[in-house]
Symmetry: D2
Subunit: 333 residues, 4 copies
């Protein structure tokens, strides 16, 4: 029974259907009917004009955005646990041609505004020190916490004051939104986000993520950078179709709701073990090595996350039976 990660889950049947429906002859790259509908579909969703690009990974979405927002000789401020720092093989350095990540602390992988300000203030404004050009936040965070709209807006306001851009890694944005009930627009562009990596693969997609530009003036550059990075697939309609299927009838919200519910079921079993409140579909539990071994012995897969901590992730299609067995096993620890 796998609780490793939502990125190993199957794709939703409607996503597969959409791929099958797109299996015809059309123009290559992103000139097809499906790809051309993306800007409109996402603009409708966000309630503002956006430019939407399909890519196949969150790393590509994150790093294409960061490369457009940060020149090689400047820096990106992010949490020290951010995926771009910890789990993308140095991709920001590759895409930006050597920009620097400045690492911040903060509870639950959430950026602390005061620490953000302090980090910026500590940089001498001269040519010897690398000046920041962008801030990147992850929502939900790597510890499964959700930024509220007001929290993002505070960071967005700070970014504007300092003349730096704001990027959001939304690999699990759907889960965060479902959890907080915030409005999608409020937590993104209205809060000052310039570019968003909008995750779908962890949420029932097959292999299509969306890079959303609220700064539409960056679209031409992103289009070129996507091609140059080998991310302009020739049969792009199969990616676009996936995204449209996810938006259709709010499937993306439905899937995230299911995953979050499963996570809440686990959380309720052992509130005293929670490292952080469960605000998305990840549960971090305090569990001794012996207890972890017992869970594994019972057939559950998950990551060790730190000393005495484990991470469990629920998925859009979490089976009831596996979930029941997990909650029972945790309760019996």
């Amino acid at each position: 029974m796998r609780f490793f990660s939502d990125n190993a889950a199957p794709a939703h049947p409607k996503v597969l259907e959409a791929i099958a429906d797109a299996n015809c002859l059309d123009t290559a790259y992103d000139g097809d009917e499906w790809s051309k509908r993306l800007d409109g579909a996402f603009s409708d969703l966000f309630g503002t004009e956006v430019r939407a690009f399909w890519v196949t990974t969150g790393t590509a979405a994150n790093c294409l955005a960061l490369a457009a927002l940060c020149p090689p000789y400047r820096a990106i401020l992010c949490h020290k646990d951010a995926h771009i720092e910890v789990d993308e093989a140095g991709a920001p350095g590759f895409f930006t041609a050597g920009a620097k990540l400045i690492l911040l602390d903060g509870q639950g992988a959430k950026i602390d505004p005061q620490e953000l300000a302090d980090a910026c203030d500590a940089i001498r404004p001269d040519v010897h020190q690398v000046q920041p050009a962008a801030i990147s936040i992850t929502n939900a965070t790597e510890y499964g916490l959700a930024y509220r709209a007001a929290e993002v807006a505070a960071i967005g306001e700070f970014a504007k004051q300092r003349g730096v851009a704001l990027h959001m890694d939304g690999a699990r944005l759907a889960n965060a939104l479902v959890s907080t009930g915030d409005d999608l627009a409020d937590v993104t562009w209205r809060a000052g986000v310039d570019a968003l990596s909008f995750g779908f693969v962890k949420n029932g997609g097959l292999n299509a993520e969306a890079l959303i530009l609220f700064r539409t003036d960056l679209a031409d550059e992103i289009a070129v950078r996507r091609k140059r990075a080998g991310h302009l697939l020739s049969k792009g309609r199969f990616l676009a179709a996936q995204l449209l299927a996810m938006l259709d009838g709010d499937l993306w919200l439905e899937n995230a709701t299911a995953a979050n519910s499963a996570a809440q079921a686990v959380a309720k079993t052992a509130p005293e073990r929670l490292v952080y409140p469960v605000e998305a579909n990840e549960i971090f539990l305090r569990v001794s090595p012996e207890e972890a071994a017992r869970l594994r012995g019972a057939g559950f897969d998950f990551y060790d996350w730190g000393p005495g901590e484990i991470r469990l992730v629920t998925s859009w299609n979490q089976e009831g039976s596996a979930l029941d067995r997990l909650t029972t096993a945790i309760a019996e620890l």
Copy 2:
């Protein structure tokens, strides 16, 4: 009736089936059952030990390979019409961090061995001039010509003498092989090829290409570079399954045979108009602007390729009726 490019064609039904069959829970990235079978499957195919990596585009396959074969401060020799030079948005410069392409001439986008030698000899062996580290050839070429095994071997021999690596862009390798009847091993690793971009998308795939390393010592580096470039998809099994489906029962050869037959049908219609012999699934015709307009008026789509030249590409699923109408229309010009 589209004769623009084989990269706009649909995916083969068996490829879609393979994707559907892979739609279960498995490990993320390339730890799944399908991905783990790739090395074996391709080693069997090539009759030697290889390491096989799925990627989603030919550009990614080409440029990951070139980055591993050529350091930033050296050069790659290729034909001036090579896809990596002309149609990849400068991706080699991005992936290699600034390596140089040295452009060669040669009929039909095929590298001329003498010109290759002359180009190398013209480089002063000092720190001021960029020294070559790799040669990249395209098979079939951008003009639809197929390298014979002996031709590749001559270049491979030269590469070995000069201590440079040899890469093959095989976006249409299947079509070339079907055309020449050469053995796959003879035209690749036995001829000195170190790394091969093995194309499947143009040949009935959905979005999976293969990067084949005959120099297996490069595998660890390629694995890291793939991740770093955002090309390690989290649900990699959907790519691996496509490749396995293409190999299964030699579907890749069957598809290429179909595309080539269609091309031959067109070629036979107007042998006097052929710019080059048709050795794969691309037909380059001498056609006046008026004639081209007439063909377009009759509903045919294709590229203008040069002054008085058009390119037509046939696909694995070329419909008989469209083909008949095309040959008729050309005959009537």
Copy 3:
């Protein structure tokens, strides 16, 4: 008797004196009195506001400028014989993080305006092909030809129309100016040049070149890029002092005049052997291998430049006796 290159000549005594005079305690980097005078001194010289940066090599000046004028995913148009293409070890690729050089032809290493336009027109305006961002010309050219102000202006006009920047590699600009009698402003900023690598080392300097920005808005970026490339020397006053000494009393023109005169003396000896008119301090002669050997046997050093061609370069301090022996030897061939 060395006629290899002016970059092997000694430094002018006044340059050494200026270094000695600057040998005191002052602020580090470019905060010192000498460095702070550069903007003013060069603004006076050019008759417009410029920003001037000392660097130690022409390669650094060229490539810092190009990196600021051309993003990684675009291209620089230059002559196929340009120093940045032929003799800088791929430095443009390094500084720009992978931008492409598009190579043009043209007599005497001078860019032909028609070919420039044709090259631009041949680029499809899509994401697959690399779009140009800058043009770089060399004045005097690598074949010792001088661009007239009107020639530069024509290219500058074209650059403006196409929205691309114009860079001039002026490693031997002094020699070109002395030869044509053009006004410095006319041949640079009034002709549309955005950034100029202004050479002094070949012209009697020790190790200081100037990067001149007519687009002063690029100054902050250049300052950072210079530091980041390891080109912000800590005792910068020793470079600034050299440049000020070269400007003082028009020493730079005096030196170039001397070098050009020596070149004219050689040119007059064998007008029928000249590959190109001598418009600076380089002489390219048609000389058989046997004749070249005879010259070398007589103690003269120089480069072979092509089949049956040699290059001789005169310097600011060309000794009369060596020059006399050279002209005599050539006459006797």
Copy 4:
């Protein structure tokens, strides 16, 4: 009275003399007599075969070395206060094409071996996390502490065990050596250092630093990278001559001894204020803002280094009178 930095001090008269003596005609770049003597001179100094390259800045020396020791997709471990992290404008990212710096803690900017091991152990050996390729230490450190030979050897041993390279930023190596009395060989190559940035400019040089390769197999790559970075000066003999002058009669040790003595004089004045023991020519004092203001009011220049800390640096030519006034002023605080 400037105690800002030793990098603002004048050059030693013998360095200027050496430049004047080299002011003749010789071959360009590093083919001249002076440059050709460097390998031998430094091999003699170190008692082992080395390859020595002149460059004009410590940043160039550091980052050329790091680029040769660390591929773009791996990491360099260094102290969080290291110059390469804090004061080089992100140059390591530029030269390496995006390698990552992993920051370590440790008293006085000295790397703590245990923390080094912990940092390495914390990296999962997979493609998602950036694997280390090199360690860089600074000697003397940014807080003026000197590594003992045994300390370097312990890090060198660790590096060897983990298969990573070891680089030393020796901008003030002379000062460290004079202070510890260690043998130059013991603290460098015998301790496992692969490449050394050997500083001379802060120690009485004009604008020549040395990059020393104990791994001589890297020499060809460094030679190309130096050119490609615009650091191959055409009149290189003026740099080589400076280095030879510094080695001649152990001028480099003499200068460092003088600077260190001056620093000790300051240290003795206020031992209770020392943040760290003074082991080179930098003194870090605990001084209140009011006290700092008083010192400045009395005509002393220096950096604020942290809350309640100032940095004073003495130079090879520290005047007795300024030093006396400084010690008196500190004593009177």
